[in-house]
Symmetry: C2
Subunit: 383 residues, 2 copies
């Protein structure tokens, strides 16, 4: 296949580059979803996810689907019609999470920031004081803007001011690259997807659900308005596989779960602290280069910028397609903009997973070289 | 990986054995979902699906998810609360489709047969005469019983007696192994999954939707009660990729779509008629062996039995686990029962995809040998 022979480094904010062993797992031969060879692989993956999310009691849920499905899981299982939800909006994905919650009957209040910024603790506190919210959603890293939220500080605020409010984190672009501690930070749901810092091809929707969230789900009075997303179907499946028993609701994506298992073993073989430090260090390196080139970040400050991606405005005079194509001609793929209001004005670089934790691959060096060379070739002379 | 070295033939009714080229596609390196290398692969896959479903105007929809998600797609996009749905029930999957429709507010009438049988045309006609049904669902092959429905005859009946009723086919265990002609048979939705006769690992929910079904969806008065399953999000994505443009709603499962593309090219390289004939011939071969062993089928007659799988009662004195394990010791995996009422009383053999179309692999011969030898070793002496 030509895409294999002329592979260009995939340095977008997901999918990210995959380890060779992960790709080998993807081509596992046909295996029954209830076979003695697969059951322990799924069971162990559930256990390893607890380690990655730093939780003892949180319940992992792994389902065939895109990250987006995680929003439906949260909304359909935890919201009852007419309940209030507070959405912290730091970009495109805040808009979409809000839209999803509304589909399931939530009355949504949004705390929305300027592009490149995030809601302040004061704004969040003000919003919390207006109503009794069933849940609050935080986009840990908004992939459209590269803005990082301070989940820990927000959680502390919510615990103090509105202890009954469930704390939901969209960690699609953060789990595996940003520090996140489910138990210590009292998070009720963290949802993510396979293709970002977890280093697995796209196709898995992954959640961690707290005991409190499961109790809330069990206590609900109205029926669950989804079939596929209903935890009533998935919780027994997860419990069965973790107890090393097969059980059927829908055929699990066997090959993707083999790949998840391989990646989770790699991830948990190093202390998570080291992993987070590595992502910070590489992020600093890339952001320093961007600064030295005189380019402007989408996030308004380093403090609110993610460690697994970097969003940057094109310099004046450089056309979006030109830069992306020029960088691709140097065998590196970076992404264009996604936030509707500024989509054609900025680009995004992903730096997660093995590209960060295995510097001997030189993915970061090659990306920096491709970017700086391309800008030069396009006549951009810097600040 | 040990599962690769000691591979046992996967002869269950899905997942089925995968072609080496399909598995190679599964390990495609990281590729952006909007890259110039991936967009045409997704676009072409959409076109090829039309060929497999024998439709000119039907709209393929390919989404990250299990086959089960197809039910949510049908129910959430086509049913409005309080509308009537007629479910033809020939096993476990009829029960589940009915349950899914109810979640989305359908008033469900079921025509249910004895285990091993299917509703008669007279029973269906009687049911159709009681109400004006928004849609009728047919499980083409119920994977739990191996019962085959006569989709063409049912469709003709519905067209004559209740022309406004949408005709929905659950083709999870039939597309690619049983004859199905979307346009000629006037079908409105056929839903399937990747891991059966389409020969791709599990993780794709695949549907074909008629123009009439899309119009019904567009004309609906109540909001769509799902976010992830809403066609409002997916139709523009499918149109974009088919026009060879990238567009984002949720990250598509890139590797699975490469694998789908590879398998669809293989499937469409031979006339579909040949493919259906091959599946019939192999099915006859296996069913003759089962008969000659004096075993009893779950389907009550050959006429109502699927061509891609065979469901058989254990002979007296043979324990379920013993037979499955014995067959596995001969390197062939077959499946136990799934229908709740008789789950411990029967086993199932899948015979779909390359195991059927490439006889030089000897999958069928090896399966027959493993079964007959195992029965003999367990002391079963036949009729």
């Amino acid at each position: 296949m030509s895409s294999q022979q002329n592979h260009k480094l995939c340095m977008i904010p997901g999918p990210v580059e995959f380890h060779e062993d992960v790709l080998t797992s993807m081509s596992t031969k046909a295996t029954s979803h209830v076979s003695p060879s697969f059951i322990p692989v799924f069971g162990e993956s559930i256990e390893l996810l607890r380690k990655v999310f730093v939780t003892e009691q949180g319940q992992p849920i792994v389902v065939s689907g895109s990250g987006t499905l995680g929003w439906d899981m949260v909304a359909s299982n935890l919201i009852e019609p007419g309940e209030d939800a507070l959405v912290l909006n730091s970009g495109y994905f805040g808009d979409s999470f809000a839209a999803c919650l509304k589909v399931y009957g939530a009355k949504v209040t949004e705390v929305k920031s300027e592009i490149g910024d995030r809601p302040t603790l004061q704004e969040i506190s003000d919003a919390l004081s207006t109503k009794s919210f069933k849940l609050i959603t935080i986009t840990h890293v908004d992939t459209s803007t590269g803005v990082l939220s301070d989940v820990k500080a927000i959680s502390e605020l919510v615990k103090k001011q509105s202890p009954n409010t469930l704390i939901i984190v969209d960690g699609v672009c953060s789990v595996g690259s940003e520090e996140i501690r489910v138990d210590e930070w009292n998070l009720d749901v963290v949802l993510t997807a396979s293709q970002k810092a977890l280093g697995v091809p796209p196709g898995l929707s992954i959640l961690i659900v707290s005991e409190r969230a499961i109790q809330t789900f069990k206590d609900r009075k109205s029926p669950i308005p989804s079939y596929y997303a209903s935890w009533a179907h998935w919780l027994p499946i997860m419990n069965a596989y973790e107890s090393r028993k097969g059980m059927y609701f829908a055929t699990p994506p066997v090959q993707l779960i083999y790949a998840l298992n391989t990646s989770l073993k790699q991830i948990t073989s190093t202390p998570l602290e080291t992993r987070f430090e590595q992502h910070k260090k590489v992020s600093d390196q890339i952001k320093s280069v961007v600064e030295s080139l005189g380019l402007q970040f989408v996030p308004k400050s380093r403090e609110v910028a993610a460690n697994g991606m970097t969003a940057v405005y094109y310099p004046e005079g450089i056309q979006p397609a030109d830069l992306l194509q020029k960088v691709a001609s140097h065998n590196v793929v970076i992404a264009g903009g996604l936030h509707r209001a500024i989509a054609t004005k900025y680009f995004r670089i992903g730096h997660m997973g093995i590209s960060v934790t295995e510097p001997e691959r030189k993915h970061i060096d090659n990306t920096i070289t491709a970017l700086t060379t391309s800008l030069k070739e396009l006549g951009y002379s810097g600040n």
